[in-house]
Amino acid sequence: MSIVLEKQWNGDNARTKGKEPVSTPEQTNSIASCEDRRTVGIATVNNPRIRCVDVNVYYGNKHAIKNISLDVAHNEIIAMIGPSGCGKSTFLRCLNRMNDTIDNCTVTGKIELDGQNINDKSIDVVPLRARVGMVFQKPNPFPKSIYENVAFGPRIHGLAKDKTDLEEIVVTSLQRAGLWREIKDCLNQPGTSLSGGQQQRLCIARAIAINPEVILMDEPCSALDPIATAVIENLMNELCCDYSIVIVTHSMQQAARVSHRTAYFHLGDLIEVGKTEQMFTNPIHQLTSDYITGRIG
């Protein structure tokens, strides 16, 4: 396949870095072959919140993430999909240096949050993780009251001037997470006493209480029923007005429903990134097409 320029999401001029990208459906109208592992689609955006350039991750000798370049825009929900072991969660964890906690893990390349390289040795990971919050697959409320679960972050980061201020942060966060009406009369009950969906929303409230710029979500609805999932998805839709959201999901329908852009990972390579509606109706790469239509994975 001939090499053509990668297009930017906002229609900006092309930028080609790292792996040489190939593209695009309307010009070529052909699908990149399975052997071609260069990223196709729209990997860069104007004025990104996060810019990743040539990111590699190694677990010991295992090359888990291969030379990935990808931007996350302001107020964007970007979904990462791919078969198990393709590196999407590993990549997500790079975005707030969660991989630092793994002994034999090495991350190379540049990851910038608002233009600042987060892998710089001078960067303190605690404020970084306040700026880039995370919600995990399994709800993990602290073994404390509902109130304390949300108040903990603002308190340790010194975000509240006094008790009234802290209360306001807690109430606002619970309201924004869509949980306030359900639990306003039982703030002193343990967070673990809530249902699965409520616990996950409590974790989201906890994440937004520290006023992050980006929220990372690693399969946030995989343990929830369809109603609780719909509530979380509605919440994501509202939160993206203020935050950038990066979500890893195994549910194609969820990626299609909630995200603006979708990125497809395969064996550590970023195969394709594009507008979600295009990815799910007319993907460029053969591997993307095979995966989303249930032919591989």
Binding site: M252, A256, F280, T281, N282, D290, T293, R295, I296, G297
Partner: protein, 239 residues
């Protein structure tokens, strides 16, 4: 089955798409023979085919409902995306066009029955020849379309769309038919019937072209319908 419809991890999905494709082909074959019979019905010895056409019309209508129901079932169960979604959408659009092709065949047959009724004492072979000319063109188009549909071959579909349209032959026929009226105004009613048939044949050509466009959409994702309108719209916006 064309390879682009198979290979799912859920093998039953392969079967369901294959089943849809087969039903579409069955409907296409029925409609094609209906149209062939309708054109042949203008030969006096083939007037008996009229009953076949009516019987096939019923089968086409029932197939339309059956395929629609199969499509609903697949959509409800599979959450299809990308080429699978395009295939289901394309098949769904094809069903409508195929049903209309069947309607055109029925319309032609109705007029043919009228022409051979007591209302007209004799047939004008010159005028009937016009039907033969346009009819052959429409049948050739449909025959090629069956092959395109069977293989879901987008290159062949594009080639089919590049074929000369029926319009030129249609206009030439209209000119010739006008001369008959000028010679004898009493032939007006007969000529109108012939023109209605030619119009139906012209619609058949248009429906066959629609089917080719759906094949291209299924295979490549290109929506080439109303290309001229899209260009016009882009020009207007650019101004």
């Amino acid at each position: 089955m064309p390879d682009r419809l198979e290979g799912h991890t859920f093998r039953r999905f392969d079967g369901e798409l294959d089943h849809l494709h087969t039903e579409i082909l069955e409907m296409m074959a029925l409609v094609f023979s209906q149209i062939q019979n309708a054109i042949e019905s203008f030969q006096p010895q083939k007037q008996k085919t009229v009953y076949d056409i009516i019987e096939k019309e019923v089968r086409v209508n029932l197939l339309e409902k059956k395929i629609d129901s199969s499509i609903m079932e697949v959509l409800a169960k599979r959450g299809a995306v990308a080429r699978d979604l395009r295939a289901i959408m394309g098949f769904s659009k094809m069903v409508t066009d195929l049903e209309r092709l069947g309607d055109e065949a029925a319309r032609i047959t109705q007029i043919s029955t009228k022409i051979y009724s007591k209302e007209y004492s004799s047939q004008d072979t010159g005028m009937l020849r016009e039907i033969d000319i346009i009819g052959k063109h429409a049948c050739a188009m449909l025959q090629e379309m069956i092959a395109v549909l069977k293989t879901l071959d987008s290159k062949r579909a594009r080639k089919l769309l590049r074929r000369a349209g029926i319009n030129e032959a249609f206009n030439a026929s209209l000119r010739r038919l006008t001369t008959y009226v000028l010679e004898d105004t009493l032939k007006m009613k007969y000529v109108i019937n012939i023109i209605l048939i030619l119009k139906s044949l012209e619609r058949i050509d248009a429906h066959a072209r629609n089917l080719a466009e759906y094949v291209i959409y299924i295979v490549s994702g290109d929506d080439i319908r109303h290309a001229e309108d899209n260009r016009q719209d882009a020009d207007n916006k650019a101004r």
